[in-house]
């Protein structure tokens, strides 16, 4: 669904590249975490998928199409196939929940009756039934993020990109959001989520792609936030190799953040 071939992105000639010759494939229907420290290139990756920026070299394929070959007047069509949510929700403060979600349909010319039918359905999917007429400031952070997710998926995109969607939320609320994203993924949408929330990653046990300074240093299936295998500093696909045997770690649902860290440290010491 998303394929990067030796993609490099240089914003500033003097600085190191934001992405450095990344090769990566995310299949249709997959759920992948993009993890790594701030500045490691997660957002840049997502922006390239959206054609918000152009790769300096290499090719980005979305749904089989090289985005470099999409002419500017057809970029909107590419974006209709991709939903996006952000850490800061980006809701329109003067519009109700219903209107915020409907906005995404209005601007691409959907008819009033289709909007009337679809929006409540999507709001139900994200667990916001009965809150259609609230304004964003009358909602909790988690509820606001649910509105943003509803808006991102209301046009039924094949891909959902989430850039630190739980960055502003407490752990319990974050897990609720993850439930929604998981449900959307179950319905067949490919989900790519950039995050540095270790609890969530550990809890979900999905594919994890770790970036560091613009390089993929790990790509594991059903993985944890921090690698349980020695980092060998390569950008090849490692997940098939590592995915077969479960990493020797804490059982997923038990770990709190502190415990997970402790375990990881212990594991690390063990290996050292």
């Amino acid at each position: 669904m998303i394929r990067f071939e030796n993609v490099t992105k240089v914003y500033d000639q003097k600085a190191r590249p934001a992405l450095d010759s990344i090769s990566l494939e995310i299949d249709r229907g997959e759920f992948a975490f993009l993890v790594g420290a701030s500045g490691s290139g997660k957002s840049t990756f997502l922006r390239l998928v959206l054609k918000e920026d152009r790769a300096s070299s290499g090719a980005v394929y979305v749904a089989g199409q090289n985005v470099a070959n999409i002419s500017s007047w057809r970029v909107p069509r590419l974006r209709r196939g991709i939903g996006v949510v952000f850490q800061d929700f980006r809701l329109l403060p003067q519009k109700t929940v219903f209107a915020n979600v409907a906005f995404a349909m209005q601007v691409i010319g959907k008819s009033r009756s289709v909007i009337r039918d679809t929006v409540p359905e999507v709001l139900k999917t994200v667990g916001l039934e009965g809150k259609e007429n609230r304004l964003p400031h009358e909602l909790s952070g988690g509820e606001q993020q649910r509105v943003a997710i509803a808006r991102a998926v209301v046009n039924r995109p094949g891909i959902l990109l989430a850039d630190e969607p739980t960055g502003n939320l407490d752990p319990t609320t974050s897990m609720g959001i993850m439930g929604v994203l998981d449900k959307i993924n179950q319905n067949g949408t490919t989900v790519v989520m950039a995050t540095h929330d270790d609890d969530i990653v550990n809890e979900m046990r999905k594919r994890v792609v770790e970036l560091k300074n613009g390089v993929v240093i790990r790509d594991e299936a059903k993985a944890l936030y921090t690698s349980m295998i020695p980092v060998v500093g390569q950008s090849r696909r490692l997940r098939d190799a590592s995915g077969r045997d479960e990493p020797p770690v804490v059982p997923p649902r038990a770990g709190t953040r502190a415990e997970a860290r402790a375990e990881i440290r212990l594991a690390g010491e063990g290996q050292a």
Partner: protein
């Protein structure tokens, strides 16, 4: 749906930027009024030129009923006198200075008079008898007016010989200079208008960056995103152009029609209706101004 959406976006944009929109309206109004004033001066010049101005330089007016000139002692010019004047015009001595000449009968004169003074009350009080017949002469060299004047002034049946150009040329050059000043001021004002419209669109795009950001992300087309901003500028410019057109009409109606035409009853003024032919041009110019500014602005501030 999309149209309704675009319209509601325009409405909210205009309301949000009301002060800027009003200033755009006023600047286009003032600049287009200057453009229109130049246009009106040209229309007025055409009106004053009348039927003959561009065709001939010299007019030989023949005696009519009330003529008091010495050559008219025998009353109105007779057909014989007209014939001998025509022969004189065709004689080699005169013909070498003349390209062409035409005879204007009293009825022709009345017809042309009615056309030129169609906007003046004077037209009702004039009859064909009061207007002299004339020979209208197109000179090879307009400077040789004196020769015609000397030759014909003393002929029987001639009331007077007039060099039409000399009467009006000075006035027209003053009016042309005024047009030029108006166009220059208009040029400066138009630059103001373009910059102001560009600034307004930029502010508008800035104040709605949240909406347009979301529109981009969900895949709204460039047209849906940009059209509200373009139309905002266009609507403001068109309102300005309409106000300018209204002002020109009012000037023609109240100033020329009520004041000037009473003060100068023997001058032909343009009618208020004639100024309205400038309106489509002004509105078109307003649309072009707004279009240029939008193009300049949106390319930079509303990238898709």
């Amino acid at each position: 749906m999309r149209l309704a959406f675009v319209l509601s976006e325009i409405g909210s944009g205009l309301r949000r930027n009301l002060a800027m929109v009003i200033s755009v309206i006023l600047v286009t109004f003032v600049s287009l009024t200057f453009v229109g004033a130049a246009g009106m001066l040209q229309l007025q010049i055409n009106q004053m030129k009348g039927y003959w101005y561009d065709k001939v330089q010299v007019a030989i007016f023949l005696c009519s009923d009330g003529s008091t000139a010495p050559g008219c002692a025998t009353g109105p010019a007779t057909p014989e006198q007209e014939d001998s004047l025509r022969k004189l015009l065709q004689s080699p001595a005169v013909a070498q200075y003349v390209n062409d000449f035409e005879y204007e009968s009293k009825d022709d004169a009345y017809k042309h008079f009615k056309e030129q003074f169609s906007n003046s009350p004077i037209v009702d009080s004039v009859t064909p008898d009061q207007l002299p017949a004339s020979f209208r002469i197109n000179m090879k060299d307009p400077e040789k007016y004196e020769i015609i004047s000397e030759t014909f002034s003393s002929q029987a049946g001639v009331e007077t010989v007039i060099d039409q150009r000399q009467l009006l040329e000075r006035l027209f050059s003053a009016m042309n200079a005024a047009s030029l000043v108006a166009v220059s001021i208009a040029g400066v004002m138009i630059i103001c208008a373009i910059l102001l419209i560009a600034t307004t669109i930029r502010l508008s795009a800035f104040s709605r960056r949240r909406e347009t950001g979301i529109m981009r992300l969900v895949g709204a087309s460039k047209m849906v995103i940009q059209l509200p901003f373009i139309l905002e500028g266009v609507i403001a410019a068109v309102i300005g152009a309409a106000l300018a057109s209204g002002t020109l009409w009012a000037v023609a109606h109240f100033f020329l029609g009520e004041v000037m035409s009473k003060q100068y009853p023997d001058t032909a003024f343009i009618s208020p209706g004639q100024t309205l032919i400038l309106a489509p041009a002004l509105i078109g110019l307003g649309v072009v101004l707004a279009g240029i500014s939008s193009l300049l602005t949106l390319r930079r501030y509303l990238r898709v």
